[in-house]
């Protein structure tokens, strides 16, 4: 099964261990971006995945593509052009000290993408899934336009679409609001990841519970078959609790509540969830198992340095089946 993801990939730079920016003099390199994180995760599960993005045409842009390929993501549809490589600096917290991110992604090569640079028809033909997030339309008109064509093409070709409608208010700077842009994108979705707060803010769709709000969203966007969300309780930067739920218009399927400690790397744990859920939806005939698989994938991601979830189906299954004992495997 071939899966397509679309979005910006940034170079992530972080001090070793829990050092602060003020004291470090080396930085670890990883690459990541919410959609590419989903791609890598699905590739580890054995799916064929291609990520679509645009990099600057220099050694670091090439290195970013190499990073994706290393983790088995197909990079043949990646374009190269002008603009810079988006970056973010991550300082990892511990205990009561929060992790913090300094973004430096303005004017990236990806944000300069234009709709006609991507041949969606070729890319999506024969695909089994297409995934996008609310980061992309926030970056530039070109990215939003390009994404819309992608979703419409997927719809036309019958490819299921998932949208993580994450909203970051400090991104939307090119003159449009998410309220103007997001509805048309959401319309083409089969699966939506978001909270009732977001549904209300972005689409003016209200409901007093996850279920009610979900039903209202499905009414507004009739293509949507699944709505999902995770719930996180931050005890400290080193200790979180997590659960997930999935609504199919009828029932709410809830995962176990996971106690996560210690936390090695919190970045990309939401992406690991959606990747696990997509894998579950495509593979299992069992919504309960799918949401549990997604939650377990997310739990495991907390133990892995970097943005991407380097775990196998067998590893996720172990946790999804209730074994979090971490017993040595020889």
């Amino acid at each position: 099964m071939k899966i397509i993801t679309f979005g910006e990939v940034m170079l992530r730079l972080s001090p070793p261990d829990v050092e602060r920016f003020a004291q470090t003099d080396t930085l670890s390199m990883h690459f990541g971006g919410t959609e590419a994180n989903v791609a890598v995760s699905l590739a580890q599960f054995g799916m064929q995945v291609a990520h679509v993005t645009r990099f600057p045409d220099h050694a670091l842009g090439r290195a970013a593509a190499g990073y994706l390929r290393k983790y088995d993501v197909d990079t043949q549809y990646i374009g190269y052009g002008d603009g810079r490589l988006g970056l973010y600096f991550l300082e990892t917290g511990a205990g009561s000290r929060a992790s913090q991110i300094i973004y430096d992604r303005a004017d990236s090569a990806f944000s300069r993408i234009l709709p006609d640079e991507i041949d969606w028809e070729t890319i999506l033909k024969g695909a089994s899934w297409f995934h996008w997030t609310g980061i992309t339309p926030a970056l530039s008109q070109g990215a939003a336009d390009c994404l819309l064509v992608g979703i419409q093409t997927a719809n036309r070709l019958g490819v299921p679409v998932s949208g993580d409608i994450v909203y970051r208010s400090n991104l939307w700077k090119y003159g449009r609001t998410p309220q103007e842009i997001m509805p048309a994108l959401t319309e083409g979705c089969t699966l939506v990841l978001g909270s009732k707060g977001l549904f209300s803010e972005l689409y003016d769709v209200v409901g007093s519970t996850f279920q009610e709000s979900g039903r209202a969203l499905m009414k507004r966007f009739p293509n949507v078959r699944y709505i999902t969300d995770t719930k996180r309780n931050s005890v400290s930067a080193s200790h979180n609790q997590l659960s997930a739920k999935l609504f199919d218009g009828q029932n709410v399927y809830k995962s176990r509540l996971y106690d996560i400690r210690p936390i090695t790397d919190r970045i990309g744990t939401g992406d690991a969830y959606i990747a696990g859920l997509i894998y579950g939806l495509l593979t299992f005939n069992d919504l309960q198992r799918a949401v549990e698989f997604g939650a377990a994938a997310s739990v495991l991601k907390h133990t892995i340095p970097g943005d991407v979830n380097l775990t196998t189906v067998a590893e996720v299954d172990t946790v999804a089946n209730g074994d979090s004992s971490g017993k040595l495997r020889r």
Copy 2:
């Protein structure tokens, strides 16, 4: 506001992570000393701080000064001369294994300091606070004498003085006892950090509670307006509990009890407390808030590698206000 601190700064050498001395072949370098730790912490809070000390006149002595400057401490009053750079070797423990320190500070350039090397008049003019600890008078007669002149000058110029009267029996080797030396130094203090046990041992001042003992101390040393102490419960090397209290002659102000885990670096957490408290006393008109700020500063220090507390007022306020969730800040 200009703050002056005085004391030895040592080179700290520690194996990476939790390696033991027996197995490491690299050492991380930090610089620290209880008074300079207070200086750096206050500088991060935005105060103007100058640290007074004496270094050997070689590349490592210069590097030590550079370390302080990097963290915004004024080094213009530092002297350079003969003697070595004091060192300590720190092995960081975990769980049931204790951290351990091997001191190698004998005959340091600082211990050779003489009173006439420091122009206290110039340094303390216009200062808002002067901080010292019981380590300094333990090192040599010269250091004790020099400190005494400093405290007396501060008193004459109306600069408030804080003394952390920490007592390490294995330091006092130059022929005098703390009982002979400490009272004259304590007399000039506005704020004293110490326990009732210490008050009894050093000054023969007794009281059955923190409050009673504090009152007795204030009677003996009428300049003292505040007495403070912290209480630590060591569950393991990776898990501590901490609280602080402050007595102003009338009321005892107690901080919240903090649960600290995991612990990245326990060194300097007491210094972080006194820095936070001094900041609070100078900035807030609220003793309860000051002691809470101090305790929260100490809690955060446990998450930071090195001796010094690299946290901002905003970060401390978050924890002092009861939010230890460590949620990612973007």
Copy 3:
């Protein structure tokens, strides 16, 4: 007191921190092997220990011997010859993610050992203890034969023998079964480490409790005076609970139940237990104290990177006496 251990030593290669094999590009080197781990641990306790093994005659084989010498193990009886250096790759887990080992030890120089290469008479003369494990006879006929001669020599010279009868089914590949080989080896033991499940599987000795099964084993092998075992509850890869017990034919001596978190390195914690127990049996006249010392040694090992337990008697005593507070030692 001179102690002799016998068995393979492997080069252990592991990614830094909790990185996965898929993402690392450096590996930390340690050397270890269950019997040599016991040797190093005993050497740290101040015992004279010589380890007997066979290495390839090249720079890495020499480095392995250097590793043992560094930790005060006598390497004069080590032979050098053909074959490769056995390796294992260790990926350290965290939380719900298990650590995993990829063994690469086939056809090692040790597995090619032959009985006549070892002069057991000289080596064991005047020794106070001889230790072996069930890994050795699983590797090759030569290793099994060589071990048998060693045990028989020890018996003849009156040297007490301990056997950790660990059984790894994927090792026994040279055509013999443990049921054929192990009984003759066990016969010469004074102390056996194993569970009732193992006793049943290897010797067809059954009993419904540790005590009953132990009694049956002693009946079958009349030389055996002590039977011991540990019990581990894996809450997660970062949090375990551990206790130990010792049976002397009459009473069962149980250690405290230890709560271990965080876990730095789980490898070799069983070996640390047996080393502590042997030390206790040879030094204390108190079986309860011996088993407690062994358990505390094992607990401390969890905090130390590498296979070997670099702790002193004083450190183990602190924990064995109930102080797991990990308070800083200056």
Copy 4:
């Protein structure tokens, strides 16, 4: 243009900088193998390259494939199965101290390959080049057989074949001699890399000069159109001189003589030459330029850590055109 390479890929482990095995406790990981090195190099030149090999089916085998993919080599034809991952340990020398290698590749997954595991027909269809070396037939009968089928398939499909007939006497251990095996493999070659000494030893083909010996080889193997070799003068481990020559049956084309210092990593410099030459033969219509491009590629490889030559066509062209000034490019 699609190029196919075939051969074992090993994990290379080396101490940092010029540390000796005896003193290091970390190892850097690279992956390499003479044929895969050619593949990576060609991929950096923009060619489409697929490498055919066989890895153990575990995390390290997968990581090896990830390494190739990162550098843009197609890994779809790689098989996974039993056997271990071949390793080699490299200690890098300097000045008068030689680098040294400890091989640990016996019984690798690759050496267990069998002819029917590889679908040469599919792999080679439409290919522009096939490359092999004398390492492969030295490893096992299966590897030799599999290679022979590959060469014959290439011949049938009209795909040019290059063979680096390197001979390592300590490899041939499965009962056959290179004199028995190599001729049939060489028969299918278009391009042969080797010296007149080797031609004499392997094929009993003699000639007093490179040219004469080349002519004799072409007579014996009429398919061979090009013969090439490099000449290296080792002044020290940090300073070498290198040149290359190519014979087309009529003329000998010689490269410039390059002075190489300092040397960062000498491994894979021969593979870089052959990759450069293949690129030149496929791309330029100029044998002189092709041999110069190959030599310049080899020169540049000496500056790059690891086995593989991470240089672009533009970088090689700069050196091939006589500019070795290493001037900063902004």
Copy 5:
């Protein structure tokens, strides 16, 4: 003596040793910028130096200021505001492989500087020297304007001014040409660093020799008293030859020709020269000695990692006096 420098400071990120961007996963952090490099160098020579710049108001901007302070540069005049921290990625070459830089400095906080943000009057009062380079006016109109006010203020206050008129064509992107902007800036200079090629390109001032061209420049800009330049011969990225010359309107003073190998870090070697020359002009009454000191400073910089020249006057004097033996100092 107080010296003022003005210009952008960037975060420099570079792979360890001579690794390529494509293969690294850690980056070393340094900070640098041509004018700040001069500042740090002068501070090491014992001068009082303040650097004027503008940083983003976040942890990395603060860290950049800390870096300057560590090396004894006064940071009190640094402003904080919007915009990003300029970066550059440096890959260090070796032998025939060139180092390469990927700049990522567009839209930095510095480029957004406006003239009224800097109180030149206060900053330059009592200063002994002011230094700028041609990078600053290339970045933005605001930076060019701000610099012009600085130079004019220096002229009014009688502070000597040096300008390194370096020209990078790919910087000038805000709509003005260097020919429009540079003359007014150069007019205020006492010392100009540049070649006759540059003089011709920027000011249309021609002369067939360094001397003639210098005379013509002095005619055009009567304030200019000294013209200087360096000459570099790149044998390879690891081996350069360097000399410098200074013209005072009458005589040309030439330094020795230095043979530099190996080269650790070539960045900032020109800045080290100008810093050495400024030091010489301010300290020695001897132009020959000044130019020799500058050249020797530059030579030493090639041995030091990072952008800045961490050498003392004594070290530079040793080399300037002809001793490049590098003999161990105890």
Copy 6:
């Protein structure tokens, strides 16, 4: 053959690569001391060597002994007591920048040694050689006294003695001069390493050539049979030239002149020479071969990080036989 060496061992701390003290924040650990360096070198040549010294009784003192044991030096005669571990900080230079050392060895545990702590009789019985240097008597009266007893015991037992009479004026601080102390020590020597300048300064023995001066020394100290010295030409910190000579009272045997570049670590290269020479004198019946072996050993040491020469006899022989090509060994 059993060899005994005697002297202080220090912890050496050095920044990575060629970083300066001012910029580093990690230090590499090695241990070294001129006599122990000789010991390690001889142990690598396969000799049985025991080093006699005195360490502080803490984890770092134990680690120092472990370091020696790792490299096969017998540590059974090492004493533990009060005092600190001597240290030295080494900054490695390059090109025209000199390496520099900051010593921090005052009041070490070794300098507190007393003659009655060492049982020379037992230690030297059956020994084949005893080696000391002029560093030891410079440290303290106790060390000088202890050494004198050692030399006299060696003389009584017929053990040959070598003395490297190195003189460091800044060490002799306990009230005696080398002129008072050294003659009695030199009297017991069989082999003396020193220059004619030293002979004149220490013993008032003069001669216009190495030979003449040697003859005069032999006259003054009739036990001396061999005099040796090395000659070094420092082209730069990265490039030296070296040769050695040996005088037996009749002939002068000179080694080849070696060109050494690059230099990885210059420390301990003199000790490597004397170790090589001692090995040669004990093993070969050929003085020319002995001095050549010593010189080649010294040359190789320049390529090895740390104080000690980790090379084998075979490696030294290769260079001593004229092959400095550094060709890869597989």
